[in-house]
Subunit: 452 residues, 2 copies
């Protein structure tokens, strides 16, 4: 059974201390081996070569011992309904159009030769061109040359931006709660995240100001703010446009770059679009990240960074593989050029809207008093809040029994908060499974109430 | 004109010193801004927001200032013949078979759903299976589960292995000369490379022993040896099998992991295959890296690491993008399953053999006395040695005039050696261009001799 609840370990560092690591790093004295085992002593050599090489902890870099563990879902029990992960539904993947784009693109010999050769660090020309057109529409202004970098998904985009903007030990700001993948990346690179509360209207700007003043007074000004202002992961809330302007003003006053993660902006199910922070920014302090994972498929492993050219040209060397996958870039660029992606996004909006509605409806019907939740206008997530007298350990145990997997709120915080929150994703399951999954979760929550 | 000669900068660190970086990191006092510019003062705020955000050096992490520059070829002059880069010839790219593999793979809905979803950190199952079969043939033994990791090209494989095996400041061993990309990666991660000379029979084992004893006595034992034992880049030489056994024995005695870069092993043009170090290793100390860049196309951006499971499971968290590109992995895995890749490799051997022969023949006809070169049995490179009284600065200037681009030997060394060496790649140009390019280079070398 797969009940994703105890994922607090995502943030937890290994308990191996520096002293212990140093001890493990000390190797056995090689001199003694040298004396015993030389090629002049074939018996000893044969003995030595019969042994397995000892890949003990001392063989590995310190960071291997310090990094958070990778979250891996085990083989899932078909009886479990997972509302845990923000993965898109494979039923929506545009397999046939991608195959047709591959056929077209690879039949065009000059174009495929460019895409299949070692490429430019910024990315494949066709994908840059088509993405530039899409972003120009969204931003309401042309995308200038040198402002776009293609990456291997937005996971790599986050990693690259973090490494270019901050050194190990530096402070950065994150919304509380925030995307668990970013919490992991920040820990991996040794940054110290400071949380700024997120409310129903997005980031708390007064708290941001207070935190900035406190950190500056302490001599540890943050290197950047990481924000998900549109259809926030995990809460689903969106920062209104007038508060975006105010956020930009604060950032400008404090010299604070903003990493704007916009993974879900294309997936609005109702209401008026809100411009991205980057679209409102006339100063060049916003670093907008995006991905094709939610609108095409994660397996194309393509994301991007849109930012000031002075920043973009520093980012490329941090992609260890050089240029991002040329074949996939060409396929997706060709799919975009055909108009297929734009049509597909409209289809996705309808599909995911039905799932959001299924989840919201089921929550209204099933949830006991003492439970509240967000109703997002887009994206993949609903954020549940339980009243404090519900026993969350009992709820967690009951989700296992009920065969429903959810994400605990603590996984979305950097400091242990979120014990009485749950993130629900409505992206992966069809509406009937969502309805059933919410019913199971409601029973689990009731189990935690009865005995509290 | 593109004359790739002065690429010594690949290794050069920025001359910005630590003091200067620290100075740049100090920000202007934010307090003064706070006083002047608040939202209570709309005029000032408007002025502030009209300014561009200052992406000055202090905004960036220390590593941005310290890393070597990325080598970027400018737009190439069509008049220049490039023998500089080890890029495969796009004329050999299997575009149509890849398109057919994409069509087949994406028509199979269950398979494409797996490939297009977020994937397992180790890689796509079909690619792992097909690659496992290929490697089992080469290694003469089954490839056990958990011993393979798919990466974004072998560039990422090198970066991941280096980060898992060593910390900044640690010493590692490299052959001299070696692959310039690895020199860059090692510098990027702050390792201290110690060169071990490479001769006509591969790495100098006596020098290796001496270096190991010296470093151990100094308390700085190397964390690993990075070796390219088969069709070495840049020299083309191959370590004979009996010397491979001796190398493994030394490594076992000294507890020295070996990163074996085997980018060219499939491309043998004559002579008997030599088993990889990994195939000969019964202890599990060899970490074999490979790539699809030379046998399929660089744009598929796929490589791999074959190693002890104890190491493999530590490597995956160092791929920031999570699982490697599922779409491309599925396409290449399907291409392999069809038998297409095996047939293609045979075609490539014939194609590149003709180019090696064209280069060797041209060198014999054109090169003046005082120039020697290697005759590789496989791979992409020939290594030229000029006698010391040839003025290499004059030669470099003359290559610009002659419109031929080559790689200076210094780019393949960590310590400024190689001033009288040149790496020539015969992979990218058809035979007639190779012949003409060598004739141009011979004239440039004669220019350096006349005036010396």
């Amino acid at each position: 059974m797969l009940a994703i609840w105890h994922t607090g370990e995502v943030r937890r560092r290994s308990t191996v201390g520096a002293h212990e690591i140093e001890r493990r790093r000390r190797r056995p004295d090689p001199g003694s081996h040298d004396t015993m085992l030389t090629s002049d002593n074939p018996t000893r050599t044969a003995e030595l070569l019969a042994l397995s090489f000892a890949w003990e902890p001392a063989r590995f870099s310190r960071r291997v011992h310090e990094i958070p563990s990778v979250m891996r879902a085990g083989p899932s029990d078909p009886g479990v309904i997972s509302l845990a992960f923000g993965a898109p539904d494979p039923a929506f993947f545009p397999g046939a159009p991608l195959a047709e784009a591959a056929r077209q693109a690879l039949a065009d010999v000059p174009t495929s030769a460019v895409a299949l050769q070692y490429g430019h660090p910024d990315g494949n020309p066709r994908l840059l061109e088509e993405l530039g057109k899409k972003l120009a529409q969204e931003e309401g202004r042309p995308i200038e040359p040198g402002t776009l970098l293609i990456t291997s998904g937005s996971s790599q985009a986050i990693a690259v931006a973090v490494q270019v903007l901050a050194d190990p030990g530096d402070v950065c700001l994150v919304e509380a709660p925030t995307f668990m993948g970013t919490i992991r990346t920040i820990a991996f690179h040794g940054l110290r995240p400071v949380p700024v509360p997120l409310g129903a209207q997005g980031i708390d700007l007064d708290a941001l100001e207070t935190t900035l003043r406190r950190l500056q007074a302490a001599g540890t000004p943050p290197r950047f703010l990481y924000s998900i202002p549109t259809f926030n992961n995990p809460t689903g809330v969106t920062l209104p446009v007038e508060r975006r302007q105010a956020l930009l003003e604060i950032a400008a006053r404090h010299g604070l770059p903003i990493i704007e993660d916009d993974a879900y902006g294309d997936l609005r199910y109702e209401g008026e679009p809100v411009p991205s922070l980057h679209a409102l920014d006339r100063q060049g302090l916003v670093v907008r990240l995006g991905t094709f994972s939610k609108i095409v498929a994660p397996g194309v492993r393509l994301g991007f960074i849109l930012a000031d050219p002075a920043l973009i040209r520093r980012l490329a060397p941090f992609k260890p593989e050089g240029s991002t996958n040329g074949l996939t870039s060409l396929v997706v660029g060709t799919y975009m050029r055909s108009g297929g992606l734009a049509a597909h996004i409209r289809t996705l909006r309808d599909g995911y809207r039905a799932r959001r509605d299924a989840m919201d409806g089921a929550l209204r019907r099933e949830m006991p008093d003492g439970v509240t939740w967000t109703r997002p206008e887009g994206g993949f997530f609903v954020w549940l809040s339980l009243v404090s007298w519900i026993d969350v350990e009992k709820v967690a145990a009951a989700t296992v029994e009920e065969q429903v997997a959810v994400m605990p709120g603590t996984a979305c915080h950097t400091d242990g908060r979120g014990t009485h929150n749950i993130r629900l994703a409505f992206s992966l399951q069809p509406p009937d499974q969502i309805t059933e999954g919410v019913a199971r979760l409601a029973r689990a929550i009731r189990a935690g109430m009865r005995t509290a």
